[in-house]
């Protein structure tokens, strides 16, 4: 299933955030419609639990509502921040670590591609999946263990029985391939 629809997609994330800062509920609703699918899907991929993923989704957008004034668009992409924050929270829940606090204005995420339009999101989804599908199995496994399971390179090395250096190389190679999506 992919995000669909084009209604109201001409407003930038920054404009929506500015309106959220003025307590505009419709702006938050629009932002939620824009990114809830991505955030929810990522959290669910990590947790494999619909309810837990929905909880993270709701908490994250509630945080956006409460702390929108602190977000500095110069420091990065809101979509990127949402994805990173959702991933961190899901990993924390998965590994029962203490909560990770992400301040909008402290942890910048530069996503050098515009995904404000659902069409752009769909395009990127297709590209990333294509790249992941093209990666050697061991590279994809190492990357997914790190991102979706929160494993350190040491843990991945233990799991796969490969030397630590090999694991690092695989992750780096996979990341290089992934970044080509943006070029």
């Amino acid at each position: 299933m992919t995000p669909q629809g084009t209604t109201g997609e001409t407003t930038t994330d920054w404009s929506l955030l500015a309106r959220i800062g003025q307590r505009d509920e419709e702006a938050l609703s629009a932002l939620y419609d824009r990114y809830s699918g991505l955030v929810f899907s990522e959290a669910k991929r990590i947790l494999r639990d619909t309810g837990a993923a929905e909880e993270i989704l709701q908490d994250l957008f509630y945080q956006v509502w409460r702390t929108s004034a602190r977000f500095d668009p110069a420091k990065g992409s809101l979509a990127g921040w949402l994805l990173v924050a959702a991933r961190n929270r899901a990993i924390s829940k998965l590994r029962r670590k203490s909560g990770i606090s992400e301040e909008l204005d402290e942890n910048g995420v530069t996503l050098s591609v515009d995904v404000e339009l659902h069409a752009a999101q769909n395009l990127l989804l297709d590209k990333v999946k294509a790249v992941m599908g093209s990666l050697p199995e061991n590279q994809r496994e190492a990357l997914e263990c790190a991102y979706f399971e929160g494993m350190s390179h040491t843990e991945i090395a233990q799991k796969t029985g490969q030397p630590l250096g090999t694991v690092k190389t695989r992750i780096r190679s996979a990341m290089e391939a992934l970044k080509k999506v943006l070029s």
Binding site: R23, L143, Y147
Partner: protein
């Protein structure tokens, strides 16, 4: 890991993926906190890592999630509105410039200080009221206990007086202390009721004690006629073992609290 003065991008990407060990991550954090250039590169590395969020099968959350979110937001707005600084009222003035944190503290003080005072007053009032209620409850409890004792006394007297096999024993004074006299109603099963009249007052350390003189054996105490005794007006009830056969009744003057056997002078005496 750290090449020259800065962190290599590859390391930052591993950091962004969460793939570094805790020690390695801590070392990077220490550098990042003071290096704007590396912080900028970390933002890029995070962006690259975030691409993996697009490598998932897309789904949709339940509609109720958004509805609950909007409800939370409205509740938050309502709280903000309710506790907003009064528009016609100025914040307390302090010397020098005021930081945002100071403003927040002042705002909260405006709300919290009166609330704390009000809570203290309410707490004091409740404490005082609790003490008053506890005193009243204790008083009521004692009254209720007294009423219960009186009722039990009356029921016992009625039981003795109404029984068909109750016998009456007239007591007469044995000393020259006026016209002291008495009357005993005795029922071997229901107990003893004694009416005493014109008994002279006793010193504080003395008490009248009623005795049942059985057909055989030593006298049995039937209770006190005074402090510690069971009275209803001038009528007293006494306790003796059930089915005791009485030969006579007597009243003596004994130390307060009574004695196991009569030791003092007889005041009243009467045979069955």
């Amino acid at each position: 890991m750290i090449q020259g003065e800065h962190i290599q991008l590859e390391e930052l990407e591993l950091f962004a993926l969460g793939a570094l060990s805790e020690d390695e991550a801590a070392a990077l954090q220490a550098h990042l906190s003071g290096c704007e250039e590396c912080a900028t590169k970390l933002a890029q590395a995070r962006g690259s890592a975030a691409l993996l969020g697009f490598a998932t099968e897309q789904g949709r959350p339940a509609g109720t999630v958004k509805a609950e979110l909007m409800a939370r937001i409205r509740a938050n707005r309502e709280a903000e509105r309710r506790y907003a600084w009064p528009s016609k009222m100025e914040a307390p003035q302090g010397g020098g410039s005021t930081t945002k944190a100071d403003t927040r503290r002042s705002w909260w003080n405006w709300v919290l200080v009166p609330a704390a005072v009000a809570l203290a007053l309410v707490s004091f009032a409740l404490s005082w009221q609790n003490r008053r209620i506890a005193t009243e409850l204790e008083k009521e409890r004692k009254t209720a206990e007294s009423m219960i004792r009186d009722r039990q006394q009356v029921e016992k007297m009625v039981g003795v007086l109404a029984a068909a096999d109750t016998v009456t024993v007239k007591l007469t004074g044995t000393r020259d202390e006026g016209n002291a006299n008495g009357l005993v109603k005795f029922n071997a099963k229901a107990g003893i009721v004694m009416y005493a009249a014109e008994l002279p007052p006793l010193p504080a350390d003395k008490s009248y004690q009623m005795w049942l003189v059985p057909a055989s054996g030593t006298p049995i105490s039937a209770g006190l006629l005074g402090p510690g005794g069971h009275a209803w007006g001038n009528m007293w009830t006494g306790e003796v073992p059930a089915n005791t056969q009485a030969k006579a009744f007597a009243v003596t003057i004994e130390p307060v609290g009574g004695m196991a056997q009569p030791t003092g002078p007889k005041v009243l005496l009467g045979a069955t």
